[in-house]
């Protein structure tokens, strides 16, 4: 269960907290609570597990954003059972290939990707900077990422 759920909770944390360490804390905390509930027989229907994890994730994100820490008791009880979520648990990237793949994009595509993902800006914010419409930025962004993914998987050559 841990290996299945941990990457998903980590992503949830990254999206809401924008920080690897906080996402790792969230993952640890949510999965500890989930184990507690499972062992206590409080989650009887397996199909409800995702809903439970989502609910816990939302609650813990709010807690983390408030700066509170409420995991001491669960950590004391179950911490030894859990592998620690690392800071670099995401997929590994071939940065040389990514550099080459970025070079292959059109100028507008590369600009939109850099402006968007450097500071995680919405289509509206990037559109304002570049004098485009938000809809146009979304189209360019989608096309650029689709090309980049193809290039990274080797379906489109990098050079």
């Amino acid at each position: 269960m841990y290996s299945r759920l941990a990457p998903r909770v980590r992503l949830y944390g990254l999206r809401h907290l924008r920080d690897e360490q906080s996402a790792a804390d969230l993952t640890q905390q949510v999965l500890l609570m989930t184990i507690e509930r499972l062992r206590g027989g409080k989650i009887r229907e397996p199909e409800r597990l995702a809903s439970f994890v989502l609910g816990m994730s939302r609650m813990v994100v709010l807690d983390l954003k408030r700066g509170s820490r409420r995991r001491a008791r669960a950590l004391e009880q179950f911490a030894d059972d859990l592998p620690r979520v690392g800071l670099a648990d995401g997929p590994r990237l071939d940065t040389e290939r990514l550099t080459a793949c970025l070079e292959r994009l059109g100028e507008r595509e590369r600009s939109v990707l850099v402006l968007t993902f450097h500071s995680e800006r919405t289509a509206f914010e990037v559109a304002q900077e570049l004098g485009l419409t938000a809809a146009n930025v979304r189209v360019i962004r989608h096309r650029a990422l689709a090309r980049l993914r193809l290039c990274m998987t080797g379906e489109e050559p990098a050079s």
């Binding site: 299945r4 759920l5 990457p7 998903r8 909770v9 992503l11 949830y12 990254l14 999206r15 397996p46 199909e47 597990l49 995702a50 809903s51 994890v53 989502l54 994730s57 995401g90 997929p91 590994r92 990237l93 940065t95 990514l98 550099t99 970025l102 070079e103 059109g106 100028e107 507008r108 590369r110 600009s111 939109v112 990707l113 850099v114 402006l115 968007t116 993902f117 450097h118 500071s119 995680e120 800006r121 919405t122 289509a123 509206f124 304002q128 900077e129 570049l130 004098g131 485009l132 979304r138 962004r141 989608h142 990422l145 689709a146 980049l148 993914r149 990274m152």
Partner: protein
């Protein structure tokens, strides 16, 4: 929990919009629930997030060539990156270099580009021979300036040389020159 295959996979555009907070609240919530319950889509999302993080890392290392904006440069500087900027007026010339302490190098090319639908940035040698062309560059909202980040690893590898950069409006009859700028590059004494 679903198995590795997904009967109704989230579209790439939904994953991107979800990550950036560009979805409507109800759609965003549906995507969030789906991702926590679906291994396949969660894996695709993880790959996408890694890719976006890679773009950010490479931009911070100065190894992404891109036309950006003045506001973007200010954000880089606010984050503590050392950006070497060269500002040129049309027809201007500058002596330039890059030192080991620079993180990024930017050229800020002033030009009145209002009303010009498409602009190419053309890099030429000292004699004006075209070496490289960036087609249809994005123009900032004010269209008074082109802000260009050059790859710092490429600049570090350059010998002392003169390079000309032209902004041109391409049309059926060829290029209409909008402005030209001259960069007189020397290697840093620290190299």
């Amino acid at each position: 929990m679903s198995a590795s295959a997904c009967a109704e996979p989230l579209d790439l555009s939904v994953l991107i919009d979800h990550w950036l907070g560009d979805l409507a609240p109800d759609e965003d919530e549906r995507a969030e629930e789906h991702l926590l319950g679906c291994a396949a889509c969660s894996k695709r999302m993880g790959d996408l997030v890694a890719l976006t993080g890679g773009v950010r890392s490479l931009a911070n290392l100065g190894v992404v060539r891109a036309v950006v904006t003045g506001a973007f440069l200010e954000r880089l500087i606010d984050e503590g990156l050392r950006v070497r900027e060269y500002r040129l007026a049309p027809g201007g010339s500058v002596e330039c270099t890059v030192t080991p302490s620079d993180d990024l190098v930017a050229a800020r090319l002033a030009a009145d580009l209002r009303g010009v639908p498409h602009v190419d940035l053309v890099k030429c040698d000292a004699e004006g021979r075209e070496k490289n062309r960036l087609k249809d560059i994005p123009l900032s909202a004010s269209a008074q300036e082109v802000v260009f980040l050059e790859r710092i690893d490429h600049i570090r590898a350059l010998p002392a040389c003169v390079q000309r950069v032209r902004l041109v409006a391409p049309d059926a009859g060829g290029d209409r020159l909008l402005a030209e700028y001259t960069f007189v590059h020397t290697r840093s004494s620290h190299d």
